[in-house]
């Protein structure tokens, strides 16, 4: 049931104590071994010994992605080359790649973190784990692989691609757990169905561990149904480690953070002040055990919230909610943080409207005015004004409940909202400059 019961169900007081000690060690490791951190801490006028309580951490400077790019290649390594066991790198599509080093102990911890997720989906040494994440510099493949080995699973390193063969192996070798990106999981499921199988019935598979890209609730449901599995959402990013930073248990109400390895803060992305548990904000991570690349207050730009209520699964580590988006997408409307993904969630739950929508912002007097434009499905009985008005009211009420601010819903003619293959332009901001 648990992979490391003594850690995963550790009393919270003990866990806090462990985190305090380990944050101190991370600060010392960073300050003593990485000139970049030493300079940053000195400039901020703080030293590792100033850290005595969690509040003290707020005095330490943040680390951002650009710092990691600037440090390319070895600027953030706290260990000499002889202690480095492996290098991973994130793609450099939006600039310089970021390089991250791992010692043998770092890799062991990574495997342990991921193995906890394998236990969450009912896996054991008896399970066969098929890793269909890409292997290589990308952390998905080798991260999941390490988890499977830590658990003692039979690991099938299919990597991604050659999907028909993947399906054949999944069937013939009796895969129990599949690990890959959600979009690839859906593609594998569809390929299996095209090949004439019903994987939910015909295959042994009982669980999937999916991450590394956003996935809507609809898509999760579709994957779970088609494969007939328990869906486990895994969070991780290559800068911080890779998949396994947080994993979703069978309660399906958030992802347990590996709190013995990571300390998480949630901050208001605007003011950078901490928000109370349960409120949404930017996830900021401090690594607790990493030797080679300790990260102090790394701003992930991912938006989530802490779920601190005890979990029925018995694990004491707190959870983060399913990611809501990136801080880059966040809008501040009448002082409230709003993510287009929240609006999308509401709209896709109404079958009367098509999933395309547009948000038009303008300034009315001193206030932001928010208009959400939607199109009805062709079958909608638009001939009756009452039904259109009723739809508008229900949508507006649902959006207000979700966003905490009032929005105007406007039903528009078909094709008013541009369709796009790639990233659709969802937000049109016509607000006066001072209000943006």
């Amino acid at each position: 049931m648990y992979f490391q019961p003594e850690i995963e169900t550790m009393p919270r007081e003990e866990l806090f104590q462990l985190q305090l000690e380990r944050i101190g060690e991370t600060l010392r490791n960073a300050y003593e071994n990485v000139p970049f951190y030493r300079q940053q801490f000195d400039e901020a006028g703080v030293r590792p010994e100033d850290f005595r309580s969690f509040e003290d951490l707020q005095r330490f400077p943040f680390l951002v992605k650009q710092d990691m790019r600037d440090a390319y290649p070895y600027g953030l390594f706290a260990r000499p080359n002889k202690d480095v066991a492996r290098i991973h790198a994130s793609s450099g599509t939006t600039g310089q790649a970021t390089v991250v080093g791992h010692t043998a102990a770092d890799l062991r911890n990574w495997g342990d973190c991921f193995a906890r997720g394998i236990a969450m989906v009912g896996g054991s040494a008896d399970s066969t784990l098929q890793v269909s994440y890409g292997y290589g510099l990308f952390t998905g493949g080798l991260g999941a692989h390490a988890g499977g080995e830590a658990m003692g699973c039979t690991v099938i390193p299919t990597s991604s691609g050659n999907t028909k063969r993947q399906v054949q192996m999944m069937r013939d070798l009796g895969t129990d757990i599949l690990a890959c990106t959600p979009s690839y999981a859906l593609f594998i499921a569809d390929t299996a169905i095209e090949m004439g199988y019903d994987p939910a019935k015909d295959f042994k598979i009982s669980a999937g561990i999916f991450g590394a890209e956003p996935c809507s609730q609809n898509m999760r449901d579709e994957i779970s149904e088609k494969l007939g599995i328990q869906y486990c959402d895994v969070y991780g990013l290559s800068e911080v480690m890779g998949p396994g930073v947080a994993m979703e248990c069978a309660e399906r109400n958030g992802l347990h953070i590996a709190e013995d390895h990571f300390y998480c803060e949630i901050l208001d992305p605007d003011t950078l002040a901490p928000v109370p548990d349960g409120e949404w904000g930017e996830l900021v991570i401090t690594t607790l055990t990493r030797e080679c690349c300790p990260l102090v207050r790394y701003r992930t730009r991912d938006v989530t919230r802490i779920i601190s209520e005890p979990c029925a699964c018995g694990r004491t580590h707190r959870k983060i909610d399913k990611l809501r988006g990136r801080t880059d997408d966040m809008l501040i409307l009448r002082g409230v943080n709003v993510f287009p993904s929240q609006i999308e969630q509401v709209i896709t739950s109404f079958e009367e409207v098509v999933p395309h929508y547009q948000i038009v912002l303008s300034t009315r007097g001193p206030l932001d005015h928010i208009e959400v434009q939607v199109e009805t499905v062709p079958e909608f009985p638009f001939d009756e004004v009452r039904k259109l008005e009723d739809l508008r009211k229900r949508l507006a009420a649902e959006l207000k409940g979700n966003l905490q601010i009032a929005v105007d819903v406007k039903i528009v003619e078909p094709k008013t909202i541009a369709r796009s293959e790639g990233k659709a332009k969802r937000v049109i901001d016509n607000r006066e400059a001072g209000n943006r």
């Binding site: 009805t376 001939d383 004004v385 406007k410 039903i411 003619e413 078909p414």
Partner: protein, 142 residues
């Protein structure tokens, strides 16, 4: 039943003219036209020739358009004629979504009603003595 052309329109200047032009460009005659509008949008309702073709042409031109079955009942030229009809429907729990009156070329008038009743309603009305208008009395059917 009479088929009415229904078109969804954004409440913007010129949209009604655009809609009528699209119908005219298809060579289709409009006999009667009504618009129900709110602050934001309007629904154009038209009795025109070949309504199914008209709806298809409108859809091809990018409009949200459809045909809506409605009932046409000839109006008695006596006080209370319309009231008798509505009372009759109400007693049978038939809701009237909307209604309007059109005059035909022969000078007679017809009440057009959109109800939530099914196809059998026409027969029920006829049996009760109401004069049901046939589509071909109003437009060229397709």
């Amino acid at each position: 039943m009479i088929l009415q052309l229904s078109v969804f329109m954004q409440n913007e200047r010129g949209r009604m003219a655009d809609a009528c032009r699209t119908i005219a460009d298809a060579g289709i005659d409009i006999h009667a036209l009504f618009v129900a509008d709110t602050e934001q949008f309007g629904v154009l309702r038209a009795l025109c020739d070949t309504p199914a073709t008209a709806a298809e042409r409108m859809q091809q031109a990018g409009w949200r358009a459809t045909v809506t079955p409605v009932i046409g009942v000839r109006v008695d030229d006596v006080p209370g004629g319309l009231a008798a009809l509505l009372t009759f429907l109400d007693e049978r729990d038939v809701n009237v979504e909307y209604g309007y009156c059109v005059s035909l070329e022969d000078g007679s008038a017809v009440n057009i009603l959109k109800t939530d009743g099914d196809k059998a309603l026409e027969a029920v009305l006829a049996e009760a003595g109401f004069a049901i208008a046939r589509p071909e009395e109003i437009y060229d059917i397709d």
